[in-house]
Subunit: 115 residues, 2 copies
């Protein structure tokens, strides 16, 4: 049976801030949603996986060696593997994320990623 999910319902039911919820898998990619506010992660690199950040609600900055890149609701960015980056989040922001399965862990996701 195919499973239909509503993106906003999914991100609104994660159970709180910083709690990643996996909402789908396809072709060895994990699709997840998370709510974040007032958090700047440490710089990190995903050596094996590109990473997509899509903003469902709110706005944040993606910081790379090129500087701060503002990304607002309805927009997305793909960070190529090997790119040093970190999200800088002030206001409450709701994300849709896509990465290769196994990419996110407690070290690069703010200690709250459940595998």
């Amino acid at each position: 049976m195919l499973d239909i999910k509503h993106l906003m319902d999914e991100v609104n039911s994660t159970g709180g801030l910083y709690l990643y919820k996996k909402i789908g898998r396809l072709n060895n990619q994990v699709i997840s949603v998370v709510q974040v506010a007032d958090r700047t992660l440490d710089f990190h690199v995903h050596e094996q996986s590109d990473e997509m950040f899509c903003v469902l609600e709110g706005a944040f900055c993606l910081e790379t060696d090129e500087g701060l890149l503002p990304i607002k609701a309805g927009e997305f960015v793909i960070v190529p593997k090997g790119t040093r980056h970190r999200p800088v989040v002030k206001e409450l922001t709701k994300f849709l994320m896509v990465e290769m399965d196994g990419t996110l862990n407690k070290e690069n996701s703010g200690d709250l990623y459940e595998d």
Copy 2:
């Protein structure tokens, strides 16, 4: 330089109905947008790739051997590889799609897919 794109701007600038626009690639997946109306594709199977349909605006039915599954704006469904399916689209519907690179072609996309 990282590229920021706005999903609705992308799907609104495809140039017309049935014209797939590739808006990103990550981990051997292609992210594309397309506007469709009044079109029922032939049943087909992607043997190698799962396929994600996300509705940005409008609504459609995904038909499989289990029947018709209505999917509306803000919702998504992932069709596992090997699943016989076809989209049944009546009203104008704007899609975000994710598949493995090389999955879509003229035979399974209504003759208008540009590689």
